[in-house]
Assembly symmetry: C2
Homo-oligomer: 215 residues x 2
């Protein structure tokens, strides 16, 4: 009743009368996800951490799916940021930029495995068709576009040969595959670091898409 009145230490409160619950729920959701994994992510637990009742989230998210979808969107945003940041660090060479993106891709997965898993899990994308679904779809496509553009630049640069979509698919596949294996894989990778493994894999593919032997 009056408890929710004296809980402003969380920070800003720019929206309506209590606090900006939406953002608080999102943050709490990300925390729970990172701590307890996908199965431990319950709406009630999130509400608990935000110090609100179990039904309060329904004023900001239609579903649990919509909360999850918001977390996923945020994940894709960070993902795209990481990829582009990696590319910019890499300098001018389009091939080097592409490789750097691959490295960041794998690192992102290893650093935030739970978010990464959620991002590529379709049953969680079964949110009611609407703005939430569209936004998540767009976020996913955006990250693919960043990757595809880098491939296109490398082809234009001449350091890579082949059809854009073919090369992009191959590059996306091998990087996504490694990331998935490192995160989910039943097979241990010895004591080699993710960066090391990513380099190995990218070199293998790089030799292929640079060799001009593609149809």
């Amino acid at each position: 009743m009056s408890r929710s009145r004296d809980q402003k230490p969380t920070g800003k409160r720019d929206t309506y009368h209590h606090g900006d619950l939406r953002r608080a729920l999102l943050e709490a959701g990300r925390d729970v996800l990172a701590e307890r994994g996908v199965d431990g992510l319950s709406l009630r637990e999130v509400a608990r951490r935000a110090h609100v009742s179990q039904a309060a989230p329904y004023h900001h998210f239609a579903d649990k799916a919509e909360l999850v979808s918001a977390i996923v969107q945020r994940g894709f945003d960070d993902f795209v940021s990481a990829l582009t940041a990696g590319a910019e660090e890499a300098g001018e060479s389009a091939l080097a930029r592409l490789t750097a993106m691959g490295l960041r891709y794998v690192r992102f997965a290893v650093d935030q495995p739970e978010v990464f898993r959620l991002m590529f899990r379709p049953e969680l994308r079964q949110v009611e068709p609407g703005p939430a679904a569209d936004a998540m779809e767009a976020a996913g496509l955006a990250s693919y576009q960043v990757f595809r553009d880098a491939v296109k630049a490398a082809i234009r640069e001449g350091s890579v040969q082949g059809q854009v979509d073919d090369v992009a698919l191959a590059a996306w596949s091998i990087v996504h595959g490694l990331a998935t294996i490192l995160v989910d894989g039943p097979v241990g990778m010895g004591d080699r670091s993710p960066d090391e493994l990513a380099t190995v894999v990218l070199l293998a593919l790089g030799a292929g898409i640079a060799s001009g032997r593609l149809p």
Copy 2:
């Protein structure tokens, strides 16, 4: 009370007094999984389909996790069978056999997406340490070994160059990545068939691991 007495049309009944519930539960579990996906897979629903009470499964599986783990084991068995069958069809060339396995890999994922997803989902592998966990671990490793052996043969044959583990990781990554993208992917693949896409991707990698440019 007397209903469970006259339900023998399901087939064999070689175990204890009612029917061989364990097998029936496994089959029902696979059905539910294929029909309603991972989220629709509940122990109670499985029990319902087997015409037993909700608590009956606990005499054959300690957990829901143990049922799932059994389904996953079965999945890995079928998976290994599919891979080796593909290899045998491919003839003598070790490289051709490796490629054929890649194709089967992707096909398996597309044909049985729900099972495939479960197979590579670690939070479902969080079953209590014990025989069930060990069996599932072994099943996963077995499928990797089949793949790795094919890589080793191709290297011995001379059609592929590089360290076994490096090449195996690259090959597994690109194939697993494509499979995952086709099954989970946020990005549509146009109207090209999985087989077509798998060929493209495998060629890209093949050119790399055959080029001798690997470190």
